[in-house]
């Protein structure tokens, strides 16, 4: 039996645990597991009931369209965000009662902070950022798709496979309790013999390979597929940040793939990279992991900075201030981010000079980031500002992110870092940079680009309330953690005995509920907007008087993006055309367009990788071999496919494009005052411009 099922048996689910040892903690675990099961079953029923299997397969799972792949990334990110936020709320709730012992077992608490961290960084922030790059970059550079559309599918498949493993770990077995960094020797086989660290290893390694391939794809796309005339220094800033993030993905993802596979070799085959005996060196793990970990932070932050650049310029109706300095700052951050990783373990015991060097590098990286903040503020200066939802996020970001950045500069000083190392001060710091920069950036991006993808705006009133809730919820939850950290409360502790912590954990616990409300409001906003989509429709494609190329095409963007590849003569290409007075010109002729054919390649690799990860976790060797064999077979079979493209006839494109142009010419444009009214059909009229 053990050769057939490996380590699997009937006792590995939280249901059996809750049945045998009922307690609040085990019931919470069983509840979470049943949410996964019920959610999956409900999804299957809904898909069958509404007969959506075929469209799902034909239009989404096999699609090589970069926009659809991007949307799937973002949906994945939002689903995982829901889990990550709920886990955060459960943890805050536990700590709010932790003086009395709390309601979770300390092992369950350990699982929660591990999954929360792993999910939020690798399966929320990464899919959201990669999703946006996927969707927006080809539109901004005037391309029809990514350089490698099918590779793009594969990247999504591998990322999804990692997420699948995380979801499965809720129902079958237990996740790691070693934190999202999974430091050995604790996660080695001696101290953690169970399946938890194995789930972590394979989720991270498989999705990490997907992200590496994304980086390759993005870099090749931006370098090689730009429209004629789009020189590097004419690229929109989001594309610039995407380029830097892509290069960073290529260089930063391999280390985490290597470190997690080395950990796997230790655990599975008895190697001695990071063990306590026979020469293993666990600090080498910390080194390699953070060679990935620190650049990763900027891989996530840079594209969010790109969103801020677009939002600040568009909603101030001004050219971005300091384009050159923003580009240089982006590149500087990308380079310097590879020179600071050691600040994650100043306390390792290396020499003072090493600590000083990395401390200084860490302080220096704040400089280009500061340049960016000033550039954005100068962009707003005397602009035609509309306080739309993305702008509210931007203002929240300005204030909160600067606080988070400054606490980072404080932590960059090794002597101070020694004092607050491993306390909640650190937890407060990184939430204070990641949430206002990355999460707010992505939420602002969703509001900003949603109409381009779906053809209607998101409701502004609900959107604004959501933004306020996020900002307030964030402050209530995380500012108290600074205080607690300075009081000496360690991170990752399930309980505490010092009663003076209690008021602060109570505030943080209340704040977590506000964050939960904010998350629900995101869903409410989307649901409400779908319901009233007719009023919010902007089919003409330019609801915000946009400046870059993606706003020059219909909404939702057609499969071929551009009926005719545009010629670029300036930065803010679409804005320039509008200033000249005639942005909508009928092309002299249309050509057939070759687009990538739909293929199940990415989906097959996703299934194979998920099954392989699962089989490896549970030591089911025959299934490991079988699912692994699928991968080279699929890759080789793909090489023999000759017809990878389909032609869209020129007549079809001409028909669609001319219909859109006619609609543009027969519609009244709206000024910025009417932006948030049903009169906004996605055609912008000039309104005097900035003072």
């Amino acid at each position: 039996m053990s050769s057939l099922f490996g380590r699997l048996n009937g006792d590995v689910t939280p249901f059996t645990e809750a049945f045998n040892h009922p307690s609040v903690s085990s019931l919470v675990a069983a509840g979470a597991a049943s949410m996964v099961v019920v959610g999956a079953v409900a999804l299957l029923i809904l898909l069958t009931w509404f007969r959506l299997w075929k469209p799902l397969w034909r239009d989404w799972l096999t699609s090589a369209d970069h926009k659809k792949i991007g949307i799937m990334y973002i949906v994945l990110g939002l689903v995982m965000l829901a889990r990550g936020v709920i886990e955060g709320v459960v943890m805050r709730g536990h700590q709010a009662t932790a003086l009395q012992g709390g309601f979770l077992s300390s092992e369950h608490y350990g699982e929660l902070f591990t999954t929360h961290g792993t999910i939020m960084v690798l399966f929320v922030a990464v899919p959201l950022v990669v999703g946006f790059i996927n969707i927006i970059v080809p539109l901004q550079i005037g391309a029809r798709d990514m350089a490698f559309p099918v590779l793009n599918q594969v990247s999504l498949g591998l990322t999804a496979a990692g997420a699948v493993l995380l979801m499965v770990s809720l129902v079958i077995g237990k996740f790691s309790t070693g934190g999202w960094t999974s430091y050995p020797p604790y996660t080695g086989v001696v101290f953690s013999p169970g399946v938890g660290p194995d789930y972590w290893i394979w989720a991270v390694a498989i999705s990490g390979i997907g992200s590496t391939l994304s980086g390759v794809n993005f870099a090749a796309t931006i370098y090689k597929c730009r429209a004629p005339g789009m020189s590097l220094m004419r690229m929109p800033l989001f594309t610039w940040t995407a380029l830097c993030a892509a290069i960073m993905l290529v260089y930063a993802m391999p280390p985490v793939t290597v470190s997690s596979l080395m950990l796997a070799l230790d655990r599975y085959l008895g190697f001695h990279f990071f063990t306590n005996d026979l020469g293993g060196n666990m600090m080498n793990y910390a080194n390699i992991f953070w060679m990935f970990g620190h650049p990763e932070v900027y891989i996530l932050a840079l594209p969010a900075y790109g969103v801020w650049s677009e939002v600040a310029a568009t909603f101030s109706a001004k050219t971005i201030y300091g384009y050159d300095s923003l580009v240089i700052a982006t590149m500087a951050i990308a380079v310097i981010s590879f020179t600071v990783w050691l600040h994650h373990f100043f306390t390792m015991g290396q020499s003072t000079s090493v600590n000083i060097a990395f401390g200084i590098a860490t302080m220096i990286i704040a400089v280009p980031t500061g340049v960016k903040v000033y550039d954005w503020m100068a962009t707003l200066w005397r602009g035609r500002i509309r306080m739309t939802t993305p702008m509210i996020y931007l203002i929240g970001f300005f204030i909160l992110f600067v606080i988070g950045g400054l606490t980072g500069v404080i932590l960059a000083n090794p002597t101070i870092d020694y004092q607050v190392h491993n306390t909640l001060f650190l937890v407060a710091h990184f939430h204070n940079v990641l949430i206002p920069a990355v999460l707010f950036g992505m939420l602002a991006g969703i509001h900003y680009w949603f109409p381009k993808l779906f053809g209607f705006r998101l409701d502004e009133r609900l959107g604004r309330w959501t933004a306020y809730l996020w900002i307030v919820g964030f402050c209530l939850t995380f500012i108290p953690l600074y205080v607690l950290g300075l009081m000496g409360m360690p991170r990752r502790m399930a309980t505490f005995t010092n009663p003076s912590y209690e008021p602060w954990v109570l505030i943080a616990g209340f704040g977590a509920l506000v964050v939960l409300m904010a998350l629900i409001m995101v869903l409410v906003t989307i649901g409400y907007s779908i319901r009233y989509r007719d009023k919010l429709a902007v089919p003409l494609g330019d609801p915000w008087d946009g400046r870059t190329l993606e706003w020059a095409i219909p909404a939702p963007a057609p499969a071929w993006n551009f009926a005719v590849i545009p010629k670029i003569n300036s930065r803010d290409a679409f804005s320039t055309e509008k200033e000249k007075g005639n942005p909508y010109v009928r092309p002299q002729s249309y050509d057939d367009i070759a687009m990538p054919k739909a293929t199940a390649h990415g989906f097959i690799l996703c299934v194979a990788a998920s099954v392989m990860g699962f089989a490896l976790v549970w030591h089911i060797w025959w299934l490991t071999a079988l699912s692994f064999a699928v991968i080279p077979v699929a890759l080789i079979a793909r090489a023999f496919v000759r017809e990878t493209e389909q032609l869209i006839p020129a007549a079809e494109i001409a028909h669609a494009h001319d219909a859109w142009l006619n609609a543009v010419w027969s519609t009244r444009g709206v000024t910025r005052d009417e932006e948030d009214s049903p009169a906004n059909r996605g055609l912008a009229a000039p309104d005097g411009g900035p003072a």
Binding site: F271, D277, L278, N281
Partner: protein, 211 residues
């Protein structure tokens, strides 16, 4: 004077004497493959760094040392096989570019595969003899990092052999179509890259270990 009709052609990248369209098609693909190789290089770089940090007495942990295990004659034979295979791989590309000669391309690829297999045979022989002398990866951190670095290179060679077989089948079916040519160029990049890595391994692992 005959002006170059394709002034944008880079040396080494064009797929034939006058092959402008195919060249444009292959440009993004090869560029992307270069980037991929750079990320692969990072993987090797980390394993090199780990190896370099694992050669001290602590990491050897009382187990066998380089002088107990390395066989420089065998390693030299491997090196000769691999360098020769890079030459034959280059010959295959030249046959593709100038001759468009399908059977010659195939012949050079087969020779490349045989040389690669020869390399692998000797490498596995060395692994077996090391293991027979207590040199298993479970013995010490030094041996763990040795097997990870050299073994990963060997895995790459194995994948390269699989790739050659695939290319032979592909040429059989599709002749030297533009796609096949682009794939051959990618393969040759990959194969030469493995040579460069091997020279690093030869110097850092074997020569330095026997000094």
């Amino acid at each position: 004077m005959n002006p170059n009709p394709y002034p944008k052609l880079h040396p080494g990248l064009n797929l034939g004497p006058a092959h402008g369209v195919a060249h444009e098609g292959s440009e993004a693909v090869l560029f992307g493959f270069w980037i991929f190789l750079m990320s692969d290089l990072i993987i090797f770089g980390i394993l090199f760094a780990t190896y370099a940090a694992s050669t001290g007495p602590m990491a050897i942990a009382g187990g066998p040392r380089p002088t107990d295990l390395f066989d420089l004659v065998s390693v030299s034979i491997q090196t000769a096989f691999l360098l020769a295979s890079s030459l034959t791989c280059g010959m295959a590309i030249l046959a593709m570019k100038y001759g468009e000669n399908v059977s010659r391309v195939k012949l050079w690829l087969v020779v490349t595969a045989l040389l690669g297999a020869g390399f692998l045979t000797f490498e596995l022989r060395d692994f077996a003899s090391m293991m027979a002398h207590q040199g298993t990866p479970m013995r010490s951190a030094w041996l763990s990092s040795l097997y990870a670095l050299v073994g990963l290179h060997g895995l790459h060679i194995t994948m390269g052999l699989l790739w050659i077989l695939t290319m032979l089948a592909l040429i059989q079916v599709q002749r030297l179509s533009n796609k096949v040519k682009t794939r051959l160029l990618m393969f040759s990049l990959y194969w030469h890259f493995l040579d460069v890595i091997w020279i690093g391994i030869f110097s850092v692992v074997f020569l330095a270990g026997l000094v």
